[in-house]
Chain length 409, copies 2
Amino acid sequence: MSGTNDRKLRERARRVIPGGMYGHQSAAYLPSNAPQFFSKADGAYLWDYDHNRYVDFMSAYGPNLFGYRNQEVDNVYCDQLKLIDVATGPSAIMIELAEAFCDLVTHADWAVFCKNGTDATSMALMTARAYRDRKKVLLAHGAYHGSASWCTPFPAGTLPEERAHFIHYQYNDPDSLRAAAQEAGDDLAGIFASPFKHDVLVDQELPNEDYARAARSICDDNDALLIVDDIRAGFRIERDCSWHSLGVEPDLSTWGKSIANGHPISCLLGADRARDAFSKLYCTGSFWFSAAAMAASLKTLELIKNTDYLERTIAMGQKLRDGLSDVANRHGLNMSQTGPVQMPLIMFDQADGNRDMAIGGAFADAMLRRGVYFHPFHNMFINAAMTQADIAFTIAAAQATAEEITASK
Amino acid sequence: MSGTNDRKLRERARRVIPGGMYGHQSAAYLPSNAPQFFSKADGAYLWDYDHNRYVDFMSAYGPNLFGYRNQEVDNVYCDQLKLIDVATGPSAIMIELAEAFCDLVTHADWAVFCKNGTDATSMALMTARAYRDRKKVLLAHGAYHGSASWCTPFPAGTLPEERAHFIHYQYNDPDSLRAAAQEAGDDLAGIFASPFKHDVLVDQELPNEDYARAARSICDDNDALLIVDDIRAGFRIERDCSWHSLGVEPDLSTWGKSIANGHPISCLLGADRARDAFSKLYCTGSFWFSAAAMAASLKTLELIKNTDYLERTIAMGQKLRDGLSDVANRHGLNMSQTGPVQMPLIMFDQADGNRDMAIGGAFADAMLRRGVYFHPFHNMFINAAMTQADIAFTIAAAQATAEEITASK
């Protein structure tokens, strides 16, 4: 739990960082026991500056797939630094990495690398518009695709004009998607789809096949591009694009977060169909051609291909879901657990069915006191460094937390 | 010079990367001897895949300030990886770095960190608009502020609407700036200014005081924000914001490239006046809170404060300019050398005063054959790992190149 040292750090931070912190890592909306700063990371664990250890279910909001400080990946990164990293041109490792992505991801014929998830989604948007020189792009209501001015969820500092040509549809609703496409008419450039619905504050939803197929066929019928934004879920659902097992292949997919196990790299993958459109763009960044991050990603793809990380994270996620469900049932808590078990969102409902943010906050807060970092309204991420013992520890903490909450009612 | 191995790599790259490469590191517009890929970097040197060594005057297009693979900086980066890097929250090193920037840069009361230069300029734009909820922003014709859809120099894939509220002025022309401000009227949000004019393909220009002061006073008179985009020039002109010695302090400044000697981090610095405006934004990125890049930047700021790197790069730049000028005069070449000596742009003119891109390309190409990486139309960067011997080697290469060029006329 956040203590004296964390409070002192927050005080110091407030002087030199507006509001003390910004973006998705601001603790301003988290429970009072959530530390703002962390001093140490190892495998599945984080330590705050008050010497508390947490089993970290946020996994850095996604980047931690194989455990913090994975030695295999970090060694490759530091070894590459000894040869060449950011320079006047890329290293040949860039080609190897592009080839590895094209081998692993069925729809991909080419790859380009960048730094932020938002870089990848922004380039996907521009590629779709450049493809047939059209403007209209369909987005699901409430979906997060980054924080550039065209997509940030809080519009301060942005122009309404920047969103003039977006048309919104309801996730998982093929009729709504068709209506949006009809509105776009012959100016339809593309459709953005999250691999599953993972918006904050609302239950997660897995994609239904009708919706995914409708997205594909609308793009085919209108010569537009289908974009799956796999930044958050990539390689956590499949060893391929997350819609692969639905039988739906996009024209473009966006990746980031876990593709180098925490090292800074993101990418846009494309089918041949979209190759010329991307070539028309001018997109670049000072550090986009970093060989060290590419080497780390290449090693991470190797671990993705050659280990059972996916089966293990799913098994641990299932064990967690079952255990928490059992705890909730025994204590009469209306706990909602949604999304893939390895990317759980855990929230609470009142008896009338409305969301219970108070219980949700109290639950996460009490878990923090017991050494488990749970988020009250954002999906979490099981990582492959977690063990069955960590899951058992977490379920025991939930049991004690549920007792505490029901006793105080 | 680019050889068989580089050609083979380009061939392979073309299959999995659209056009074979993209962005500022594409060799498509460079002389035929410019390699696309590099295998090794050390100090001031780069090696291609055909075993050629280059004295690299591009310095990774800016990031290389203290030499490639600077051991002090790289060791700090890898040591930090052993503690904590990208995690569920930042390390306290973020506060130290923000404090160090505020100590070093006169106008800065706060700092926020990001990954791309474009992240910093995009946040500056949004901060200016959020400050008094206004839309119009003044930009200099031809200035580069990044490659997001609002600023990329090639508009493919972007919307005219995204640039609807920009008004352009001529760099160094206070009257043109005043006219633009008048056009913005009471909707003036801010003014973007490069520290000096460093557009591609045209002579560089140092800022004149009248222009810089006009920019400041227009912002004061209209309660708008002045932004100095120091991404390319930051810490290469001064150990402060580049307009400091002109006596002009901006409200916001943007930094990237060299602030961690090649490690991926950029930042936006602001005065207290702009603090609340930034707090209204939601801007973030998966890797923005990386402790390793922050540790590397902290070490780089230490080197900036405590070494004579600036005086040395200026002295070497002056020696290069004088030496090249001498070579050009002796061979009757109309060589134009513009900008600060440590950020030289070298181009050639025809007898009629028109730019001579043919001679410019031939000169850079011949320098590449002699082991010197010169760019024919982009400003270059002297780095602190260069020695007087490297400059002498470069002048000798220029001498041989000039003889070759005049002999072939």
